[in-house]
Symmetry: C2
Subunit: 195 residues, 2 copies
């Protein structure tokens, strides 16, 4: 039996996310997702050229929803000190990554794999996050709270220098007792370079 | 035929390194190393409790020789500016990691695996490197070149904040065109926190 409703990209991604969560990213096939949607796998391939492309799209949407959008809210605030805002932004990123690594393990593992495989989508995601940091840095500079300089360069440096706390390849280190103290140590040095 | 010479730890590690380089870390068995040494694998197990312990010892010696010792020389210099010394130390670490990732790929892959598996040995290696950074930072503070502060904390922050440039999990990113520019961006921010 096949479904007569026209398939939208979002319907496919919703189904893929559910099936990936149920079977795990390694065991899920395009056929599993097609079955779940009650369509032929040929129909799916008309929307996504490969399993890799489908995994990338699922990850892209997941990163937007669970990471980039909530952080956007923090970056767009224009109250309080920029120092506190920057620290809140970083802590929100780190807290969310840690939470998803445990509570949404299937999606997180897939995101880790996709990070190693698909450069362009991840580069776009990272650029979006760096732009948010730059917004906060610019605000701090405007208010005279931060030293003048290139907000984009400083934002990139802040993101790269805190990688151990949010890059999926380091997820196994986030359970360390020392991790919060380490973040604070790095934060103090970065802050003393920014202020 | 078995060899009558008493086996030293260094003889085993020399043999293991040769065999691991020849067959690759995944395909090498303890039996391969025993055969190479013309001893029974029982004899080998008297020195190393497991294949994992043997791999860890080979990696430990390799890290000492190829990373920690050459960097020790840089850290022990007491001429010139501490800023230049710190930059040279970091650039030496980064250059060596990049070189070994390409020119000694088998050992480097094994080192990457061991980094994920054996916490204590890697922690000791990292502590040794952080102590070297602290020595340079202390010198800079003594000379009034760097702001006063906790040299140990700053050293740890510098090491962690530059992780993307020297941690084996990021080796696939070192071929990026942007990597030297990125190091410079992070370096500038760290330096402006230290000076």
């Amino acid at each position: 039996m096949t479904n007569d409703l026209p398939l939208t990209k979002d319907m496919i991604l919703d189904a893929a996310e559910q099936v990936l969560r149920r079977y795990g990213p390694d065991k899920t096939s395009v056929t599993d997702i097609a079955k779940f949607l009650q369509v032929s796998h040929g129909t799916l391939y008309r929307h996504f050229a490969s399993k890799a492309a489908l995994r990338e799209s699922v990850t892209e949407r997941w990163l937007d929803k669970s990471i980039a959008e909530p952080l956007e809210e923090v970056a767009n605030t224009s109250e309080g000190s920029a120092e506190e805002q920057l620290r809140l932004w970083l802590e929100t990123l780190i807290k969310k990554k840690r939470m998803y690594a445990v509570d949404d393990a299937e999606m997180f593992v897939m995101y880790g794999d996709v990070t190693l495989a698909s450069g362009d989508m991840i580069t776009m995601h990272i650029n979006r996050l760096m732009k948010q940091i730059a917004l906060i840095i610019e605000r701090g500079m405007r208010m005279g709270e931060f030293k003048p300089g290139s907000a984009d360069a400083i934002a990139r440096a802040v993101f790269l220098a805190t990688l151990i706390f949010h890059h999926p390849s380091h997820a196994h280190e986030w359970a360390s007792e020392r991790i919060d103290e380490d973040f604070n140590t790095v934060w103090q040095l970065l802050l003393s370079g920014i202020k």
